[in-house]
Symmetry: C2
Subunit: 279 residues, 2 copies
């Protein structure tokens, strides 16, 4: 089973990281559309065009299953990607549905917070997914967090300050709306690297019972496992000792992909092939 | 005379702003390649591909003169753009040469500082241009400044802090290298919006004689004026009362271009046309 994993950059490697031990007999192809990132500040039409051509590349490489490990593409282009994959009978899993489902599984108050890129927030995809599951939610765009992670300022005081500013505004919105959130979804695959900083700020702002941080990577991997053809799942259970294989593709500098990617994957990224999607 | 002005985004509008009163009888076409920005974090090959296709668009629209109002494209793709424009006999002016020349005209110590994007700094285009003019220079990448400006945090305390951190590091590098800089070049068209914040930090770090801030927009406009065919220049002098016309093109959301662009142009941006460069 060839599984294609796609993100605009290296953030989706946190999803691959969750998939590797869980579905270990698959062959993974990871594509980072780094020449055209970031997606999160762009329009729906542009994001859809980029996401479809990236998905088409993975289909052309023989992938039989697509994981859209990018919140922005999942929020704004999942239907377009599914239309591209449908004639080939290829299932597509995004990160928004599983993220919302993970929040629904954890919450007692049925109130959730979501932090994400501007494009994801403007799409209200998380709010819609939460509503389907009976949750109320408030979404907040945090456009500076991706650049701060990319700059490597993970434990920097400036990053703590920016996180505190965004979450204070979100806290106020929750108070104004009368919500009692007990979960906060990381709606961007860059944000798990800031988990500690976010948890510290959340604990300060909600001193009694701080909302629990939800990372959609694990939830997405579980959903992929559930949707895999039962033959593959059986095969997987029997062949747990087989090491998963992963190939990496990027549309811009492979050197930068390797350097940044290792931090997200939690292990060294091997050889990365440069591909041209015509951008 | 049709003059094409190109940037990856809206930053180059600071150059158009300097051109408008100076060469007022021209028709301007401004292109912001917003679907593929930012350029400053990408590789030379990708930047060159984007810059050439953007320049080709302006040539196809009938431009007789090209202004590359983007430091990253000027630093990494000026030769490729000139090769594209040459068969049409179209002159190309970038912002790096004029920026370095403006520093050379101001400096007494012959030592200059340059702040810019990662790609511009890695190209060492400013260091080379300064060296040609007999200046020593130190370049410093400031990757967070563009996202901070795009977020609208112009007068925000976080922005002051980030500027202070970058300039402190630059100050230390200058001390270590034994330089006595009296000029600091804003090597990115987003940075003029942070001019006050930068001047405050510079005044704190160099309390005696703070380096003077050099904005290459004015210097670039002067260079364009110098290179214009003498007939145009004459025409210009005689027809100073004719109002310059400007058309705007963007490869992503025209709404966002209008909103952000007005801040850079210093006057409302009119109608913006969406173009597809195939990205």
């Amino acid at each position: 089973m060839k599984i294609g994993v796609f993100d605009s950059g290296v953030g989706g490697l946190t999803v691959l990281r969750a998939l590797l031990p869980r579905i270990s007999n698959a062959e993974y192809l990871y594509l980072g559309d780094t020449a055209r990132l970031p997606y999160g500040s762009k329009s729906q039409a542009t994001i859809a065009r980029y996401a479809v051509s990236s998905s088409q590349f993975l289909i052309d490489q023989g992938c039989e299953f697509l994981v859209i490990a990018c919140n922005t593409a999942s929020a704004l282009a999942l239907e377009e990607i599914r239309l591209t994959a449908k004639p080939h009978g290829i299932p597509v899993v995004g990160v928004i549905g599983p993220g919302a489902a993970a929040a629904a599984a954890e919450t007692a108050t049925r109130d959730a917070l979501v932090i994400a890129t501007s494009a994801t927030v403007q799409s209200h995809a998380y709010a819609a997914a939460c509503q389907l599951l009976g949750l109320r939610s408030i979404e907040k765009a945090c456009p500076l967090l991706v650049p701060l992670v990319e700059e490597g300022w993970i434990g920097h005081s400036v990053t703590s300050e920016v996180v505190r500013i965004y979450l204070s505004e979100l806290h106020q919105q929750a108070v104004d709306a009368g919500l009692q959130p007990d979960t906060i979804v990381l709606g961007c695959t860059h944000y798990p690297l800031l988990r500690e900083v976010i948890e510290t700020a959340v604990a300060e702002l909600w001193p009694g019972q701080p909302p629990r941080v939800i990372d959609s990577a694990e939830a997405t991997a579980t959903e992929v496992e559930r949707q895999l053809p039962s033959s593959s799942a059986g095969e997987n259970a029997q062949a747990g000792h087989v090491r998963a294989q992963a190939s990496f593709f990027a549309t811009d500098s492979v050197t930068k992909f390797c350097q940044l990617g290792t931090r997200f994957l939690g292990q060294p990224v091997g050889e990365v092939k440069l591909v041209d999607l015509g951008g």
